[in-house]
């Protein structure tokens, strides 16, 4: 092992990177990304689905450059350190479904684990229920893992399989840079109001995304892995990075004046307003994230981690990412998204999702892998 690998893999390394990622996320908000949404893999993937025309929710359409930059940053890191390994074959279709249901759950809450933490760091107390749900979902996933759950092995494969996702992401990034439009009323679509209209300058988003992707690939930063390893093995390595992320985002929010505590906010006219891109329906904040946490746990990592893995040649993680893109479109097209009030099928989406994902968990016990 080289010295540089040791630094990234060390306890100090993950904490420093967690702090950096928290600072970058809060700064992206300051520079124009939506409030408490400096980085949200679920929301940004949903915005990309909208930009591509996969759903019709006009306020959440923007080809967020951060997501392709995450993948390409991880790709560059993997290439530079000899870790680019094309591999696939570990239940790709189930990973696609897990990606779909993970993002459906996340969009009921309104945020992936990264955003749940950024919402907490911004004073949105609804995120407490979301994070509680996430941890419960992960704990259920851990129970399945203890019973021997596995999606099976992946195997080394040809280079094009590993290069496919970075190439797709590169094309998306170019489309974003050149603000491509096929024609009048055609993709790329772009929100003129709402969260989809709020964005940091493209160049900054790209640089931030590349840095995050690079550092996260090196340190294996994973918001779901943090809680999972703590529950499963009393290993607090990844969790220390996650906590550093929250602390840094919180401190930066204080500095930027972005910390507004409460379940709701008081508008200027004295009326009660929602926290940014949030709702106060407790059961959905909790339940949505149970579904998301369980899905991420069974798939082996948080949505950010799946994007980073897809950048280092993991074709199965790429299927998960495509599942998230599809799930985001399904969530909006079938009115499953959380809100104040929530869309009509939000509760049903959580219930159905939990049933499907639990079936995947229960039936995935074949050939126990030496697990207690």
């Amino acid at each position: 092992m080289t010295k540089s690998r040791d630094i990234f893999a060390s306890g100090a390394g993950i904490i420093i990177v967690g702090l950096l990622l928290g600072c970058i996320a809060a700064s992206l908000q300051k520079l124009g990304n939506p409030a408490n949404m400096g980085v949200c893999v679920a929301c940004f993937t949903r915005d990309i689905a909208g930009a591509l025309g996969l759903h019709r929710a006009a306020i959440v359409q923007y080809l967020r450059p951060e997501i392709p930059a995450f993948c390409l940053g991880a790709f560059l890191a993997a290439l530079s350190f000899g870790e680019f390994r094309p591999r696939t074959g570990s239940a790709p279709i189930l990973r696609f479904l897990l990606g779909m249901f993970a993002i459906i759950g996340a969009l009921v809450f309104l945020g992936c684990p990264w955003r749940a933490m950024l919402r907490l760091a911004g004073g949105d107390w609804n995120a407490i229920l979301g994070l509680a749900g996430l941890i419960v979902g992960i704990a259920v996933g851990v129970a399945f893992l203890r019973l021997g759950f596995s999606l099976g092995r992946s195997y080394p494969t040809r280079r094009p399989v590993g290069l496919a996702m970075p190439l797709v992401m590169l094309i998306l990034l170019l489309l974003a840079i050149f603000n491509f439009r096929a024609g009048e009323g055609a993709a790329l679509f772009r929100s003129t109001s709402g969260p989809g209209a709020a964005a940091a300058p493209v160049a900054i988003s790209i640089v931030a995304g590349l840095i995050i992707g690079f550092l996260a690939q090196r340190t294996r930063f994973c918001t779901v892995g943090g809680f999972r390893d703590a529950i499963l093995m009393r290993d607090f390595h990844l969790l220390s990075g996650v906590i550093a992320f929250i602390v840094a985002a919180f401190l930066m929010n204080l500095i930027y004046g972005q910390f507004h505590p409460g379940f709701t906010l008081l508008a200027e006219d004295g009326s009660v307003a929602m926290q940014p891109a949030a709702h106060t329906v407790g059961w959905l904040n909790f339940g949505g994230m149970v579904l998301a946490g369980l899905s991420f746990c069974l798939a082996g990592g948080c949505p950010g981690r799946q994007v980073f893995l897809s950048g280092e040649g993991d074709g199965d993680a790429a299927m998960f990412v495509l599942g998230m893109l599809t799930g985001a479109a399904v969530a909006h097209n079938f009115l499953m998204v959380g809100g104040q009030p929530p869309q009509p099928l939000a509760s049903w989406a959580v219930i159905l999702g939990l049933i499907v994902v639990c079936i995947i968990g229960i039936t995935g016990r074949g050939r126990p892998a030496g697990v207690r």
Partner: protein, 72 residues
């Protein structure tokens, strides 16, 4: 698969390689346990799991496979 002192965790997702390593080390208690993985991430994860239990590790790479030898 785990047969006491030899674990093949190649191609498995997080956290299975670390979990299998941990289990094998707990069963073995002392001696030598060998684990096969195929990414540096899993080398680090398994190493962390083993060091937590007080095992020493040496790593060898052969054609894309890492063989970890844990001793206690």
């Amino acid at each position: 698969m785990a047969d006491g002192n030899k674990v093949d965790a190649r191609g498995l997702s997080c956290p299975q390689p670390a979990l299998m390593t941990r289990h094998a080390l707990q069963v073995a208690e002392l001696g030598e346990v060998r684990v096969l993985v195929d990414t540096m991430t899993q080398v680090q994860n398994c190493t962390r799991a083993a060091e937590q239990l007080g095992w020493r590790v040496s790593v060898e790479e052969k054609e894309g496979t890492f063989e970890l030898a844990f001793r206690k």
